[in-house]
């Protein structure tokens, strides 16, 4: 498929969609969103790119091969659980790091975000693998 309109749109939509997916990921702890839905949107963006160009091109724009994304995501999720274990608490007990942005805005970083980031990466990896495998069959 080679439509000029789709290709131009896909190129400009990709950064927007990825940014939106990260936004959903970050706000997921207190509002609608989260790692799964964010990951799906990012994967959809890459899928759109693969439709507009081709799978090889889409593979090129991924920061790492899908199985590395899956591995990194699984390890991040496991790590967020082990955090609690290391401090003698139950597995997956959340820990929070209270810091401030330079301008004095409070910033709360916690293991739930790490877990969600792990889910995000796994979902991108898995969804993209499925898409690429089915698309490359033809």
């Amino acid at each position: 498929m080679s439509s000029l309109i789709l290709r131009t749109a896909a190129r400009h939509l990709l950064p927007l969609l990825v940014l939106y997916s990260v936004f959903l990921l970050v706000q997921g702890h207190n509002h609608p969103g989260g790692g799964f839905i964010g990951g799906l949107i990012a994967a959809a963006a890459i899928g759109l790119y693969a439709l507009a160009y081709d799978v090889a091109e889409a593979r090129r724009i991924l920061p790492a091969a899908p199985h590395y994304l899956i591995a990194a995501g699984l390890l991040a999720a496991a790590g967020s659980g082990v955090w609690g274990l290391m401090r003698g608490k139950p597995f997956l007990e959340s820990g929070w790091l209270q810091t401030q942005w330079p301008a004095g805005v409070p910033l709360e970083l916690g293991t739930p975000l790490l877990f969600d980031a792990g889910v995000y990466l796994v979902v991108i990896g898995v969804a993209v693998t499925i898409l690429f495998t089915l698309a490359e069959e033809d």
Binding site: I70, A72, G81, F91, E93
Partner: protein, 496 residues
Amino acid sequence: MPLIVPVLVPFVTAAVSLLAWRRAPVQRLLGAIGAAGLLTSGIVLLVQVRTQGIQTSQIGGWPAPYGITFVADHFSALMVLVTGVIGLSVAVYSLVEIDGPRQSFGYFPLLHIMLTGVTGAFLTGDMFNLYVWFEVMLISSFVLLALGSERPQLEGALKYVTLNLVSSFLFLTAVGILYGEVGTLNMAHAARRIRALGNPDLVAILAMLFFISFGIKAAVFPLFFWLPASYHTPPAAVSAVFAGLLTKVGVYALIRTFTLVFGQLELVHTLVLILAGFTMVTGVLGAIAQDEFRRILSFHIISQIGYMILGLGLYTPLALAGSVFYIVHHIVVKTNLFLIGGIVRGLEGSERLERLGGLYNRKPWLALLFAIPALSLAGLPPLSGFVAKLALVRAGLEVGEYALVGVALGVSLLTLYSMAKIWNAVFWEAPSDTSKAAPGLGGGAQAVLAGPAAMLALLTVCMGLLAGPAFLAAEAAAAELLDPERYIYAVLGDAS
């Protein structure tokens, strides 16, 4: 040791193996080390349960019944331990038996994800979480079954996937209704609420939904057709771990649900007794009609499932201890037989009995290695199968179920016949069809393949000779199963 460790070890192993994508030597090393770690954590867990009683852990620090609870009683700990044993044997065996392409498409990560699902299912104390672990285990088993994409594998996988998805659908339905009725998914909490629920009809419907769903997974008569259609198609290492572990997770779920959550239900336990008899008989009769090494063994899995649920049906301390012992014994022995089937195929290039023969002359050690688990499966003293069957038969006589005891003994004889048939055809007689081209195996490869098989054979001998100490753990497990209050108290404390 935190309860999550036996789940975390294979999970992290799988994730790290994925990082080593396409680097087969690293993945092989990780696969074996991870399995050894799982075995170690299983041993530690059992020691912990033996010394300190039922262990619980609230995931994320959310107290039961709101969060997910992990619970390890004797039954769970024993199952985790034996999962470690099987995981290690199969991982070592796979180093040689699984070919290069399969390894490079993620065989070892998948194996470890499956082990994650299995140990998770054994340790969780939450119904919905059990569903999730089941699915983790199933989807990796689907891929392991189809990995390689040979035609029989794909056809077998399609049947296996379909029936397991139907079973998952029933399980999910049952979970939904359970939640709608008692408003909780924590097994201990649900157990309390179900006993307080004054609606026996609804409880019966719920129990039947769980029973059918776990029955499909455990391959109970008449829901077993997917098993002989699929288990002989993948490489021997895969079918060995399936034969050893997967159906037993279904049996575990049956026993857990119908002791802890529902307690003794007249309807279900009568049904279990009847089905146990039919399962034993159809499995063994199916096996007699087969003439291929692993196909015979596949049907024997079904007949053995009958013995395991027989203990659940009889519902006495001795019977449940027998069931628990039987499950552990069966996992060890059945995995071993499948591994040996793989060695025979590797040596001779076929599994069809008429093409095999005379192996006793060339490989007497293999004949011995086959004889031990085969006789144990049939239940000959002094091997572990004898102890397991003796306990069940005695329990049956105590309750007065003479017909079922007769069936169990008859099926044992037929099992012995079946094993003798394999023995004669593979090791004793001259091959009737000599037009074969044996690919052969190198000496080093044979040693790696025989190592795990020998270890498992040793284990079944030990479980038979040291039956007293081994049976103590099974009795402790049965005592806990028959007194759900201990489990419930460990999870919930005094809160209702």
